[in-house]
């Protein structure tokens, strides 16, 4: 029958499905994506490693400084210090990076994005240890100085992620929003930011991992954290101690990375 047209085209192969990469249809949401297995394996592996480490410390013959430092209480308090450094810096980084990224993608200020990112990249070439030491000379060796150094170091990934994410939003969708009568603020809130979220979050996770790693350097300037186990271990030539510190900080970085991935997975808007 050639009567009018019923709507059953089904899924036309090669039809434009904007925003969604191929294979991300319903099947994609039902099946486990390759990256998802890691969300389960990674924390389990980290916990297993921590368990082994605890067992080793408990049964091994530990002497001298190592025995004084490798008590549960010290390890926990150093870990909390490390996390505190990371999280305080992360909050400041988000408060600076995201609004700045938004600002640098608005029509009027868009042209500033290139130069700002260039300068930020230039700054990122500075060695973290140099930055930490210079700031300590200027501001004194203490916790807050370490936070300042971490913030300076962690802003770029968040800023770059925000800018890249927002720039990656299909301009036709922005115009569609405007064409429907959304205000610029509503377009930002309801269209641009949700669509930029995946890229922004991956920038945030990069920054977090970078912060955990760089926070080890805080130990050099009395900033605290797990780096102290490592520096003490190196100074005393105590292999057990420095290996313990290295292992703990590596496991912490992997846990933070995992937490970031979980957030990315959960916060990704449906439909993307």
């Amino acid at each position: 029958m050639s009567t009018p047209v019923q709507a059953q085209e089904g899924r036309v192969p090669g039809a434009r499905t904007q925003g969604a990469p191929a294979g991300r249809g319903r099947g994609g949401r039902l099946g486990l994506r390759p990256g998802r297995r890691r969300l389960v394996v990674q924390p389990l592996a980290v916990l297993a490693a921590l368990g082994l480490f605890a067992l080793w410390v408990a049964t091994g013959e530990i002497t001298g400084t190592a025995s004084a430092l490798l008590t549960p209480a010290t390890v926990v308090s150093l870990t909390l210090e490390h996390l505190e450094l990371t999280l305080v810096a992360a909050v400041v980084v988000l408060l600076i990076g995201i609004p700045l990224g938004i600002f640098l993608t608005r029509p009027r200020t868009r042209r500033l994005a290139g130069p700002v990112v260039l300068v930020a990249n230039f700054g990122q070439a500075a060695p973290a240890i140099g930055l930490v030491v210079l700031l300590a000379i200027w501001l004194g060796a203490q916790f807050s100085t370490a936070v300042v150094a971490l913030v300076a170091y962690g802003v770029l990934p968040v800023l770059a992620g925000t800018i890249t994410g927002l720039q990656g939003v299909d301009q036709r969708l922005v115009e569609a929003g405007r064409g429907m009568g959304m205000t610029t603020g509503a377009v930002l809130r309801r269209v641009e930011l949700p669509l930029a979220v995946p890229v922004m979050l991956s920038g945030v996770r990069t920054a977090l991992v970078l912060l955990v790693g760089t926070a080890t350097l805080a130990a050099f300037i009395n900033g605290g954290g797990l780096g102290e186990l490592i520096t003490t271990g190196i100074t005393l030539d105590d292999t057990l101690l420095l290996a313990s510190g290295a292992a703990l900080v590596a496991l912490l970085a992997l846990l933070v990375d995992w937490a970031g991935r979980v957030v990315e997975e959960v916060a990704r808007p449906r439909g993307l």
């Binding site: 240890i129 030491v133 790693g213 780096g227 190196i234 292999t239």
Partner: protein, 215 residues
């Protein structure tokens, strides 16, 4: 003390440290490039091997530099070995991942065309895949070079060679004379040399990338 005087007084020693730093980075990156491309060639064909490369590289890059340096140093007691190992490892992780991405990103139709022309596996790799994947690999080399310039500076803590020594001198003299000059000289030189290396890599990229695929 004037910064200029500081540098002028120690210019030979500083120049030597700068040379050491660059030499460490360049040699390690060269080694990492060779290893990374070889591993990439081995890994890019199978999905599980690609997954492995991606996972190992991403986990490895999560590890804090000081932790890796400390472990190698603890195992060998060797500052220079620790520095070279850590620097090579980080560069390798980045380059390996990019090699896998670049090689597996080559259009399958082109490879089929190459087979249709009668090219064998080796020739396909050398004439088609590597040239097309080269920009991606080279960008991995650039990123890793920037990154390990800073990691090499940290390695100075375990008596590794290079400009990190100046920074740690500043740290030990914290509050004393010359601390600022020392740390500043070390930091600024690392930044400048990193930029010079990056520029050289850009030029290398221009010279070695086929004109047909240059962006």
């Amino acid at each position: 003390m004037d910064l200029w005087d500081f540098v002028a007084e120690r210019r030979e020693q500083i120049a030597f440290q700068a040379f050491q730093h660059v030499s460490l980075v360049v040699q390690s990156v060269l080694l990492a490039t060779a290893l990374g491309v070889a591993l990439g060639v081995v890994c890019h064909r199978r999905a599980w091997a690609r997954g492995l490369a991606a996972t190992v590289s991403s986990v490895g890059l999560t590890l804090p530099a000081l932790a890796v340096i400390a472990v190698v140093y603890g195992a060998t007691g060797q500052g220079v070995t620790a520095a070279v190992s850590a620097v090579t490892l980080y560069a390798l992780l980045v380059i390996w991942r990019n090699a896998v991405v670049g090689l597996s990103g080559v259009d399958g139709q082109l490879l089929e065309a190459a087979r249709g022309l009668g090219m064998g596996a080796t020739r396909r790799l050398l004439r088609v895949q590597l040239p097309l994947a080269w920009p991606v690999i080279l960008s991995g080399v650039r990123v890793s070079t920037q990154m390990v310039m800073g990691i090499a500076a940290i390695a100075a803590y375990v008596t590794g060679p290079g400009l990190g020594g100046l920074i740690f001198t500043g740290l030990t003299r914290l509050g004393g004379a010359g601390a600022l000059e020392s740390a500043l000289t070390g930091t600024v030189l690392v930044v400048l040399l990193a930029l010079v290396l990056d520029l050289l890599l850009v030029l290398l990229g221009r010279a070695t990338t086929s004109r047909g695929i240059r962006a």
